[in-house]
């Protein structure tokens, strides 16, 4: 494969700006690599013609002296984002044939800066899942396999296609979305950087909703610098999303000073969960040492309600999903299955259109919101959520940023957890608390498991503290110096 697909976003940007490469060249290289990596199933749809058109325009922008950070950068877009006239089905059967008449704000921001769309990436249906095995379009394969194994592993989820595409060098970067860990956990499983910004940093307009109080857009990239460049383009206030916050978007790349001397890094004791593999415990300690060596002070903190975060999430998220997904009724868009009455049509359409996990969450959500159970489940969970957010608030009086593992394991084998929803949910044990509190989090690749699979460390920042978060993340990244790549087993042999 061409060296052009091996470039980081920042290197490609610099080369594009200097005229050493063209957007059309680098786009063509990626389209060829996508063709070669079909068996990963990371793309649902490849938009070849559109990509080349956009790349030609990007080259014009550069020639005209109007180049921005994302100009000419070929990226994959998670199928959850509405892209005008292009497949946008959140990997669900219920949205069969849906082609939006409008563009999501986040993708519109990227295109305005000259980014190039390679296609739509695979995902867990409606972003519900942690392994990308819940897609109507079939599972995504992680480019990484355990050393000496020919078994497929999962890329994590729900942004599994986005993660696999960057890990396999068939996209320079991708957009993901994170509701309870759907950017950070796949980043950890595939050796990438995954950033979930503060709730309200990016507009949710045109993102197909799962749980509206939690959903947030973010990038999956090869480096922290790449994440800084891409989030700057994605973020910003949008009058069309009343929960997006009207504060200026900083120059995130400028925040990467490498200097974290005197910064206080909190280490929460409650994240030492039972049954956590020793190698993850060890990597976490290694991370603590790296930050200490860089001049940070490490402080012990307590987030006492951590163990209640997952059960809280599995009430709040399904409740919001049952309400959001009520719109899929066979009338306005997507699939319709005829029945002998209007009600029968609704029921048949929704039975056929939703996959098992989505159906399960709609039913749970409907139950916890139903008369007689609302107080005991939903209201209770929203109160515990207040306590969880309060834990972080108290912790940030003692520290500036929090360091934890991203996930309790490395990538597992395809099919291994698919029959046990709760063991699947436990994947998000370290990512869900920050989501419930609306805080930004980033996963940074930090090492390999004994089996040779990537492991990430997570940094959790303060609300709208992305600059500091990225600065610490970059220091962690350079200390870890993770350079490994998956050995290529797909497509033509290199």
């Amino acid at each position: 494969m061409s060296e052009l697909t091996k470039m980081t976003l920042s290197a490609a940007r610099d080369a594009l700006h200097k005229g050493e490469i063209s957007a059309v060249e680098i786009t063509k290289a990626h389209l060829a690599a996508i063709e070669d990596a079909k068996e990963l199933n990371s793309y649902i749809m490849v938009t070849d013609d559109q990509a080349l058109e956009m790349a030609a325009k990007a080259d014009d922008m550069i020639k005209g002296g109007n180049a921005k950070g994302m100009t000419g950068i070929p990226i994959g877009i998670k199928d959850l984002y509405c892209t005008k006239g292009v497949h946008s089905q959140t990997a669900s059967h219920i949205l069969d044939g849906f082609k939006p008449e409008y563009e999501s704000t986040v993708t519109a921001n990227l295109w305005a800066d000259g980014a190039v769309m390679l296609g739509k990436t695979n995902m867990d249906e409606f972003a519900m899942g942690s392994s990308n095995e819940n897609s109507y379009y079939g599972p995504v394969k992680n480019p990484w396999r355990a050393v000496g194994s020919d078994k497929d592993t999962v890329p994590g989820g729900s942004s599994g296609g986005s993660a696999a595409a960057v890990a396999a060098d068939i996209s320079i970067a991708t957009t993901g979305t994170d509701t309870g860990g759907s950017i950070r956990q796949p980043a950890s499983f595939t050796g990438l950087v995954g950033l979930k910004p503060t709730y309200g940093r990016c507009s949710r307009w045109g993102m197909i909703a799962f749980a509206s109080s939690l959903d947030q857009a973010g990038p999956l990239t090869k480096t922290v610098r790449d994440a800084a460049i891409m989030i700057e383009s994605m973020a910003g206030f949008d009058p069309k999303d009343s929960t997006s916050i009207n504060i200026p978007v900083p120059n995130y790349e400028a925040a990467l000073s490498g200097d974290i001397r005197g910064l206080k890094v909190g280490v929460p004791k409650e994240y030492r969960v039972d049954g956590m593999p020793a190698e993850i415990e060890k990597l976490w300690q290694q991370g603590i040492n790296w930050l200490k060596d860089a001049g940070a002070d490490v402080v012990d903190i307590s987030l006492p309600h951590t163990k209640y975060a997952l059960p809280t999430y599995y009430i709040v998220a399904p409740a919001e999903c049952s309400s959001n997904l009520a719109r899929y009724d066979g009338v306005k868009y997507g699939l319709r299955v005829n029945g002998n009455s209007l009600d029968d049509m609704y029921k048949k359409t929704r039975a056929e259109g939703f996959g098992d996990e989505v159906r399960r969450r709609i039913l749970i959500g409907t139950y916890v919101l139903s008369a007689g159970y609302y107080d005991a489940y939903y209201l209770k969970a929203q109160k515990v959520r207040t306590l969880i957010a309060g834990d972080f608030k108290a912790a940030y009086e003692k520290c500036d940023v929090i360091l934890t593992p991203t996930a309790p394991s490395a990538a597992f084998n395809l099919g291994e957890k698919v029959s046990d929803p709760i063991s699947m949910y436990l994947n998000d044990v370290f990512t869900v608390p920050a989501s419930l509190a609306g805080l930004p989090g980033i996963s940074v690749p930090a090492g390999l498991s004994a089996e040779g699979l990537p492991l990430g460390l997570q940094l959790i920042g303060q609300a709208f503290g992305e600059e500091q978060l990225l600065r610490v993340a970059e220091v962690l990244e350079s200390a870890a110096s993770f350079k490994e790549k998956p050995a290529k087993w797909w497509g033509e042999k290199a």
Partner: protein, 95 residues
């Protein structure tokens, strides 16, 4: 608290999802596993705690109450499984 077949059938009806008799049985088990697991929240003391309404302390923006957008009938109907005479069409609801 746990659900039985009757409750699941009721929820499925509220959610407008057809669940067959065979699926009902396994769904009862699946939902109860999850409900048993979330039950641990009952051990948390939430007396006097306000329920979370927004993760970011921000006032919702206000704007003048006037039409700023719209007039997209064709676009709105473009993805409909069935559209007739400029409307969404549904199966007959009156005899």
């Amino acid at each position: 608290m746990s659900v039985d077949k009757e409750t699941v059938a009721k929820i499925a009806n509220l959610a407008r999802i057809e669940v067959s008799e065979e699926e009902l049985e396994s769904t009862v088990g699946e939902l109860n596993n999850i409900l048993d697991w979330v039950e641990q929240l009952s051990e948390v003391n939430t007396d006097g705690v306000a329920a979370m309404t927004s993760v970011v302390a921000a006032d919702l923006p206000w704007r003048e109450d006037k039409v700023t957008d719209g007039g997209y009938r064709e676009k709105v109907l473009k993805n409909a499984p069935q559209a007739e005479h400029g409307f969404f069409a549904v199966p007959k609801v009156i005899e």
